[in-house]
Amino acid sequence: MSVARFWRKIPQRYNLIGTKCLTCGRYFYPPRTFCPLCRRDGKIVEHEFSGRGKVITFTVIRSSSDQFEHLTPYVLAIIELEEGSRVTAQVVTSPEEIKIGMQVKRIFRKISTDGESGVIHYGTKFTPL
């Protein structure tokens, strides 16, 4: 991913800052600037998520693209955040420990290294509570 494309979303990626629709009360992480429910009646504001959630489903990635191959095997999951929004994230735990319903919290971690530019991308992973 290009440096600009990554840096554009740094606050969102580092601090789990998403959005909230004041009209219907829904939370969005990843952030949306348009509420799919209220459409033009929606009123979107920024919202910092608590960072706590639970595992909805998961897998252990054993084979990956060049950027992530060195991390294998790693745990990937869909996390339902406390506020109700769902997000895909890595969980820092062993393949034997991960299970559906596991309570997790966010942590700040290195996500990947761009092979060509050597730029390190940081972002949010989760760890068991």
């Binding site: 909805i56 693209s65 869909i78 972002g123």
Partner: protein, 387 residues
């Protein structure tokens, strides 16, 4: 709207075809389709070509023009359009061709699909395919395509009675069918043990749950039904064309194990064709992973949610069962050149309805269905064809 029929089909061999270039592949498929319809190139009015990622796989864009050029159609300057919806690119190209003829805008239209995937290393193709999902919020996080479908499988197996062995029966059945398909990439039968002993890719999915990386092209020619008999004795009528969309990211779906776009496109297709499930003699579904076939037969309504494991175990999806699924061998055994798959599915159904499917023929098949998925279910195209 006019009624539309398929008057010609053509498909290259699927596989790792290192001696054939991208251009060779689509020229071969197109020539086979023209020959099948008894047409020459100058009668073609327009062309739609499904292609997911020539930009990543062979560093070539502007595929519509390239194909018209190398198919020898520059003298007639026909409109030639690339259609992209990841792995559903072929299904959408077919739909565009059908709509063009149905509208009365064009008469003889080619719908093609092509993908040349093996000119890059496996890591690079894995990454290119991840572009079918949400790059910023799935791919960037470390999600792979098998990983996303694996999360569907984990969710499904946690909620419904589907064992690891049941899941293995999907590729076993598809290889059995593919063994009788001359164009298939893998023509050997496999057993449940072959699947269970293969390498883990993303738990619980193993190598033999996953469709392969494939080179290949397919083409079909459509025309107004009223003119179809000028070209063929066996026109196959398009009874329905339907398409639906959903969230790009799996985590935003209403239900992880249900493809709502499949439900929507399926319902629209049944309504348009005015047929019921019991009328469908065979269906080609998008089994990019074993779990995808399980979800597809439920979401299309051939069995109830949660029952596809039992339905598969009972043999209902085999040739001779209640609803033969993936007689071509599916994406798993026939191969999955992503942009070509949706067109290949149409070719298979046409062969079946003409009674030309040889050892994998469904006896007396009159109505067939195709189901082509883009990404993890963000785009779905469903077609119903009949004699």
């Amino acid at each position: 709207m006019r009624d539309v029929a398929v008057i010609g089909i053509g498909c290259t061999n699927f596989g790792e075809v290192w001696e054939s270039s991208f251009r060779d592949l689509f020229v071969t498929a197109g020539a086979l389709a023209l020959e099948d319809a008894g047409l020459s190139g100058e009668t073609i009015d327009a062309m739609y070509v499904g292609n997911m990622s020539a930009g990543r796989f062979i560093e070539q864009e502007h595929i519509g023009a390239l194909i018209a050029d190398y198919a020898g159609l520059t003298t007639t300057h026909i409109p030639s359009t690339r259609v992209e919806a990841a792995c559903a690119s072929g299904g959408l190209a077919f739909r565009q061709a059908v709509i063009a003829v149905a509208s009365g805008m064009e008469d003889i239209v080619v719908a093609a699909g092509v993908e040349k995937m093996t000119d890059v290393e496996p890591g690079a193709s894995t990454d290119a395919l991840t572009g079918a999902a949400d790059r910023e919020w799935e791919g960037f996080i470390g999600a792979t395509f098998p990983g996303l479908y694996a999360m569907i499988a984990t969710d499904y197996m946690n909620r419904y009675p589907l064992t690891r062995e049941d899941l293995a029966l999907v590729p076993v059945k598809n290889h059995k069918n593919g063994a009788n398909n001359p164009i298939a990439q893998f023509r050997q039968e496999i057993t449940v043990d072959t699947v269970l002993n293969s390498t883990l890719v993303a738990d619980p999915l193993r190598l033999f749950d996953c469709s392969p990386i494939t080179d290949g092209a397919a083409a079909v020619i459509v025309a107004p039904l009223e003119r179809a008999r000028e070209f063929t004795d066996t026109p196959i009528k398009i009874l329905a064309t339907a398409q639906a969309s959903d969230t790009i990211a799996l985590h935003d779906r209403r239900d992880i194990s249900t493809l709502d776009a499949t439900i929507a496109a399926g319902e629209r297709a049944f309504r348009m064709a005015r047929v019921e499930h019991k009328d469908i003699d065979l269906v080609e579904v998008h089994d990019c992973f074993s779990i995808a076939e399980i979800c597809a037969i439920e979401d299309l309504g051939f069995c109830r949610k949660g029952e596809a494991g039992w339905f598969t175990r009972e043999g209902e999806t085999q040739i001779g069962g209640k609803i033969p699924v993936n007689t071509s061998g599916g994406l798993k055994s026939c191969g999955h050149p992503v942009g070509a798959t949706g067109i290949k599915q149409v070719c298979e159904v046409v062969q079946q309805l003409r009674g030309e499917a040889g050892k994998r023929q469904v006896n007396g098949a009159k109505i067939g269905m195709t189901h082509n998925v883009g990404g993890t279910g963000a785009t779905v195209a469903v077609h119903i064809l009949g004699v």
